[in-house]
Point group: C2
Chain length 351, copies 2
């Protein structure tokens, strides 16, 4: 009798984490991560109690986690997409201080029934991302989790290369507020997924799409694989940026943090936002929705910085800095002088 739930003949059941020991899993994923033991006698890579790395005198450090079901859905994001996004979240925090990322520790906390394929695809994706970003994975942690839980977490550090760190607290009235990178694309992409349900993109590594539905596909791809302008952080610091933050929780929300830390108000310029972002979104979406993504959309990982009014905005990296507002006396965030409600993402607020 043919059993309909039996796997196709010749297709063995995929390996699960619980089929392997911890040492075996590590032996599979470390080469994919591009991790290598220290080349110097004094430095130590993965495989001992801790790693030993060369470090600058002042270290910029940050950490970020992603949990399946909260931070990604398996039917929208591949394992490599998750790796890409986790790297992007961390590197943009380093860049927003004016630093250049060097190295990272990687943690995986997973239900033992997690497919080994997922873990290997994650490690391979992270390895590719790290090679592109110039980051080495020097160690990490592998832990088992209760049923259904899959969590990836990364701690990354970098070098200020002698720069003073650019904080959130340095913006001054008279400064120009500028963005490097896009606005609202990740949020628009997420909304497109939510509308379409479980749609798999044809080729996440393909060329950027153009045209109407191509725009939407591009936003979806940006949602899965944000590409922070990491080279623009140190560049802004060198150009005299007075405050900087990475756009992770929403433009108004993140800028309200800069405004509060600096004791100033930030006035966004509607015409500039139209040009930089709203026009593109409006090509497909209703106007109010386009504005909602631009003002409230998170996970964009673009950089926001204030510059002294006389300073030339840096134009040397792949993506230029563009003025979108000004720093004025007062508090909070306004749009063409009108108060804005703080909208955006909060991890713990519900309803």
């Amino acid at each position: 009798v043919h059993n309909v739930t039996a796997p196709t003949a010749g297709a063995p059941a995929p390996a699960l984490l619980r089929d392997l020991g911890e040492d075996d899993i590590l032996a599979r994923i470390l080469p994919l991560l591009g991790s290598a033991p220290g080349t110097d006698d004094d430095l130590v890579g993965p495989g001992d109690d801790a790693a030993v790395v060369a470090a600058p005198a002042r270290l910029v450090v940050t950490t970020d986690s992603m949990v399946r079901g909260r931070d990604w859905r398996d039917d929208w994001s591949s394992a490599a997409d998750v790796a890409h996004k986790l790297g992007a979240q961390n590197v943009s925090d380093i860049a927003a201080m004016g630093g250049v990322a060097n190295a990272a520790l990687m943690s995986l906390t997973a239900d033992p029934r997690t497919a080994l394929d997922w873990v290997e695809a994650f490690a391979a994706g992270l390895g590719r991302w790290c090679a592109e970003a110039g980051v080495s994975v020097v160690g990490g942690d592998l832990s088992s989790a209760p049923d259904g839980v899959l969590l990836v977490s990364m701690t990354m550090w970098g070098d200020l290369q002698g720069r003073a760190p650019v904080l959130r607290s340095g913006a001054e009235p008279g400064d120009v507020l500028a963005v490097c990178g896009s606005l609202g694309r990740s949020s628009a992409g997420l909304a497109a997924y939510a509308t379409a349900g479980s749609v798999q993109e044809a080729d996440p590594n393909g060329p950027p799409p153009t045209g109407g539905s191509g725009l939407t596909a591009g936003w979806r791809e940006y949602h899965r694989r944000p590409r922070p302008p990491w080279e623009a952080g140190p560049e802004a610091a060198d150009a005299g940026a007075t405050a900087m933050i990475d756009l992770s929780d929403g433009l108004v929300r993140d800028l309200s943090r800069v405004a509060a830390a600096s004791g100033v108000s930030i006035d966004l310029h509607g015409a500039a936002l139209r040009h930089v972002a709203v026009d593109e979104l409006e090509a497909v979406l209703p106007t109010d929705e386009a504005w909602r993504h631009v003002l409230g959309g998170g996970e964009e990982h673009s950089l926001l910085a204030s510059f002294p009014s006389g300073a030339a905005l840096p134009q040397s990296s792949r993506r230029p800095w563009r003025a979108i507002g000004s720093v004025v006396a007062g508090e909070g965030v306004t749009l063409d002088g009108e108060p804005l409600e703080v909208v955006g993402w909060d991890h713990f607020r519900v309803g």
Copy 2:
């Protein structure tokens, strides 16, 4: 009509994480962690995109996670116990390289319905532990998780203070194998919990108990709050230790890693193990059970190191190093020359 599920009059329902915003939660827990913004203009504590810390030229870094339901049970371990154990796991990895821990990043990934009380008790416990261990929490990450999930994770780094790192790979035939700290207590404590069910200890901060059932209570406490001899790691490095590892997955399992990395065999001395650990466990437990905890018990976070045969074992820290075996030519781990099966904890193996 009186509703039996209503809270007692005058006792308000405990606050949950979802009742507060992310910024509010941070405002509650950062003071408990003892975190402070950088006192130096060039250093940055919690509250910006990333932290900026002073660093030695070579950095020892490690990371560890704990998940509720896998790594602890709420009826056995308080939030402060979990904080203590997480700190202990990380600091013993730093010590096992010969380093002194300086600073840490702390991540909490939690179901929004997690009680704020738990999170505050965790932060306060971690703050106390960090003060004792000389570690500063300089930043971290707060993320929401699916229903029921609670995960804490820490990345810690330290300073070799000019020492060469002590690896797993340096043991040589003729070396003496020594331990600093206890053996089998954490495992015996866990077994005692499993036997007794949900027993709450009277006072986890009280003096160490003595006598029969007092021994068991002491092991339980050690399981909840292991106290790695972190000062003994740098001390061993200075005394010429050729290899070192922290006892996290079981004596035989961890030593088999040293043996494999060093290309040697390690022979444990039964009489020494009796004296160091088995006798104590045998006061309460059957002989075979006592040996099982000593040879296979994990989460002890004592230090194991090999020393050249002529070297005096360090005796200066609170807990002395004691010889328990010898390094010989060959492979694997033996007990008085007899082969031992590798037993111990593997995160992913099931059944």
